[in-house]
Symmetry: D2
């Protein structure tokens, strides 16, 4: 485990509890945690039961007693860490987004492909049971031809002009480290789900905005130009002919982490939101007219009906955010020794990176931009 | 039309517009309005297009040019007006509740039966399209055996101790005039719907409370004991074996007119509330497991699917409270010359009165009370 | 009244009932209805209480006993009818959109300005009490600086490829008559509200789609190319610096008339939707942290708190779609003899037309287009 | 840990993860699991990391290396296990309900009081952050005088007549083992919360029903009379003068575990439900009239605003059912060495037992029954 922040905790929790709930081929062992601040990484390792710690990630990767490297460091560190880990023959789990841009991502994909190591990116929302259920319904062809896709990811945590940028927990506000603002942080989630549910995106037309132009930078102590996008919205056309709108912002009062998507098909529509992640809204026009309506599915049932839920409690009792990570670990472990790699791989995540690239490019050019695809 | 208050307006509006939207056998003609205060009744008649007015209801009833008497006077006036109108051979529409108690109601039923005149009580919520749809679904047997019924009618308008009781618009707070408090005013609605949807009630066990014991009486100008029930809750057993809870209050902060009911059957459940009266919630356990959920039916569709709605606008555009009265007028007019009287008749409404009597009696005795039934 | 379709009914209902509920300077008199089909217009006139009827609109406009012309004919008829009515010195109410495009609209604005006649366009959603309340809250400065605006208008009634285009009730599907598809029909509503609530739009970038390329035309009987846009989405930048997304379609399963908007300001956010039009959602970040949340305001209160609602029933009892027209008539009549014309005037509606023009142009060019403004 | 069923898992999960998220005085060590079936208890111990296992609970209690006994066995075992554990000087955590009835509960209370050992009952819903927030708001006096309390716990899992009763996972359906049906299982939760939030209950009037009279018993293999209550509803009066309705059933289609409560006070009202446990609904009449509405509080904020939530993820990301147990363990551990025992103690839970006794008695007598109180 490299990193001991928010994601370091979320992943550690998943590693620790997955074996209690899922039948696994292999049990994860928390061998070592790694971070630059020795006091902090030591405390982290103790709290979460890691058997050792390192302050140099290259040393961690060099260790023989470690099979899997989990990268929870800031985005700019992903390529070098992932490439080194691949070269060392380690399996790699990498926090999303894959990288700051497609060019970096390509190198990472090449590295894992060359090394032939299992790899996966933590686009965890695919494993929210309601989202997986949406995927299953689509795979069964219930929607028919798809006309519309729309997704938003709304937050409100950077509205205050007093919030500094950069450094430690605020690296997501530093364009050099993060690569971009909401595009790579939030829209990347929306895009990953969208491609998974609705196929490749052909072209996009975007606008971005930085509402607060200057903020104090925590590392330099100076007031500096803000390089990230505070908000980004784009139009898109999918390969399947459907139209889409995507939007993300950190300036939407009233929304802490409101990731929502809706898909409208010829026969049925699906909607979901992260603030009530245990529910899926489903409308089927083939229902009898007088009792046709949006169904609010409380995704907590057992018996194979609702993905993953038979592993948890009893019907009606909801799970939360953290469980999506547990599911992802379970799927990753159980994919080993099979020829079906757990999704999304680095390669899958590179597709998302290309869409982000096109979005940011379009915001600059003011034109529609074609999306590059992984060969 | 006797009375020019809230209900006088609601009914007049219904009479005026029903012909614009419904195909009717007969067109209502607003012949005369009647009220004690000449200035007020004259203004009311002019505003609503009544061709004349009276200040003495006995004179109104005596007029030859009038076929239907609509009673919107306070509850204590219902029996004498209805009986006189029946004796004069008029058709009678009476605002709910039928009377202050069952004994009064019995005399009214006898009078209309003896006179053989069409009669109806304005339990208007039966004609909210979503409620009529609920009735239709139940009639089709979709629920199977019914286990539970629960209804509430919550308001918050009498919490202030400064509110006086009695007189004019406040007659509902005067036990002598109204007969009771929330039981006759609000629970009567709940009971009428419940009997319609779920059949006769066998026995009840109730509690009532008057939270503010004394209020200034507007007619006497003195602070007097409050005679009405501010709140009433009761348990009930229906003849079909289902269990019920009913509750009403004018002391529930946050609810202006929240009439809700829910019915749980062996196969399906139904729920509705007056604050969003254009929606019906429906759950059918026979739905396929993975897409089973409460359906929020936006009751605005045409094509025979949603009762009454083809008369109004286009799908998706909601109607409101007042339309339930229009529907009731249409049904009443179109029931004439048929052998199917429009529901609920005085006789139907007497059943509700008997339940109210048993409820109030039980609140006094602290025991379960059997409900009397119309022979 | 010219036209006896859906809008002819909605307006007639408003004229008939406005005086029952509102105190007016002048009472509307239903003098004449006009339509080409004599049998139909006669029946319409009788049903709605029009005192006469005409089959030639020029004759109607020529009549001396008529003060106001209400245009509910298809869009392509708006300019010539409005210009003729203005020249005859009539007050004019015109159904939305003002015209098929800005050029036509300009001529109409010139005509009414030259004639000096009161004029108004039926963008009725401004007068839904919840929407007027939103306007009032914004006018009071509660939102602070606005960052985001988003609006959608989703329907699903043209998904079937068997639906023909053009003729009678289907003229909205005929590009020559309607001018455009969802852009002029649905987005025009969204744009009108947006400009009213959030000020002028500077530039837009749009995409449109016609999912079903050919349909039988009802007038020719032949299968022909479909000229209208079935769906349209666009990005926009407002003059006040806020970013917007707009979307409309008739291919969104599960939505009959789901017009929604949301505005995110520095301090507060507002959201509304037409399927539950009697509610306004409001979030205020200045609320105390532990009880901060989206407030679902049931816009039915009296006492000046909720616009228009003191004219109707009692708190808690909702009104519906039709009432927005009643409010608009009341506002129009009461604006006469004042120097505050009722909104939106032809001039206001021309602004919306210019946005529609830019949207359709951008969908063709694939570029951002500047919006023209009324001088 | 005695028991390895649903609750054995829920508690074990809490013990395992509490130290990762909370700062604790003491760390729980999973010393031993105990169950009658050796193969099962062994597998359970291995899966959850218990260092040993026992098949005889008396041996477990006799062990010197164990400080705390957690009783997750069926209800009929609670008294003897708890009393033995108390006599052995162990701290005791007991799954709810405390016992099958008040008489048994009294002996348990006496035992722990005599032994002076810390003790707690797992009424976990108190520690759902939204429920704790409700408690805090009430403690701050925000509601004013309370008029109404209503609670329901609705399930639908026993509707099928083919479901057997008794034995293993179905012991809740066996009156001898469970003591009662929904009263002790579900209403006990509602009553515990109610007393905590609204104070002591004075008297109750109840009805119960067993819809399916006979079921096959899994232990005897015979079709036998069903002894438990399938449904129970009761009216209640609290000591503070408020009126209440309570209802529970396992025959409510559409509800898996819908525990809901609502409290109406003079100034404000609160509502919550278990199917969306991360939200609290709050209405404050003191809010400005035009923006007054029910607030949907997404209880995920940090900064001390929302109980327990600063220990978990970031604002907007919800937790689920299992976290209530983690919170209870944290509170228990941190209460040690203080003079504030963690709530609810055996003594607190005995109050709930007395209410259950009065409810079941009233269902038999058909009369109001006074509730006994702990001296």
């Amino acid at each position: 485990m490299i990193g001991y922040g928010f994601m370091g905790r979320a992943h550690s929790n998943a590693f620790r509890k997955v074996g209690n709930f899922f039948d696994l081929k292999y049990q994860p062992v928390l061998q070592a945690a790694c971070g630059r601040d020795e006091a902090k990484v030591k405390a982290f390792a103790e709290r979460w039961g890691y058997q050792s710690y390192e302050t140099n990630w290259r040393k961690l990767i060099a260790r023989d007693d470690i099979d899997v490297i989990d990268i929870c460091a800031p985005n700019d560190m992903h390529p070098k860490m992932a490439i080194a880990a691949a070269e060392a023959g380690k399996m790699i789990l990498c926090e999303k987004p894959l990288a700051r841009n497609g060019a970096e991502g390509e190198k990472m994909v090449q590295a894992v492909q060359k090394a032939g190591v299992p790899n996966m990116v933590w686009y965890n929302y695919r494993r929210v049971p309601a989202v997986t259920l949406a995927y299953n319904l689509i795979q069964e062809g219930r929607l028919g031809r798809v006309f519309h896709y729309r997704a938003k990811f709304l937050q409100d945590w950077t509205i205050s002009p007093d919030l500094p940028q950069g450094g430690a927990a605020l690296w997501r506000l530093d364009a050099k480290v993060a690569g971009s603002g909401v595009t790579g942080d939030l829209l990347a989630h929306c895009i990953d789900t969208a491609i998974w549910l609705n196929g490749p995106i052909d072209k996009v037309c975007a606008m971005t905005e930085t509402f607060i132009k200057q903020r104090k930078h925590n590392l330099t102590g100076k007031v500096q130009r803000v390089g990230i996008d505070d908000a980004c919205a784009f139009l898109a056309r999918f390969k399947n002919g459907s139209l889409a709108t995507f939007e993300s912002t950190r300036y939407a009062r009233g929304h802490k982490a409101l990731y929502t998507f809706e898909i409208n098909g010829e026969h049925a529509s699906i909607a979901w939101d992260l603030h009530d992640l245990h529910r899926l809204e489903y409308f089927d026009h083939r229902d009898e007219g007088k009792i046709r309506g949006w169904r609010s599915i409380h995704v907590t049932d057992h018996g194979g009906d609702h993905p993953y839920m038979d592993k948890w409690w009893v019907p009606g009792l909801q799970i939360g955010y953290e469980h999506s990570f547990v599911h992802q670990v379970a799927d990753f472990i159980n994919s080993l020794d099979t020829d079906q790699p757990a999704q999304p791989t680095f390669r899958d995540a590179l597709e998302t990176q290309y869409v982000c690239d096109a979005v940011l490019q379009s915001a600059k050019t003011g034109k529609w931009e074609k999306v590059k695809h992984v060969k």
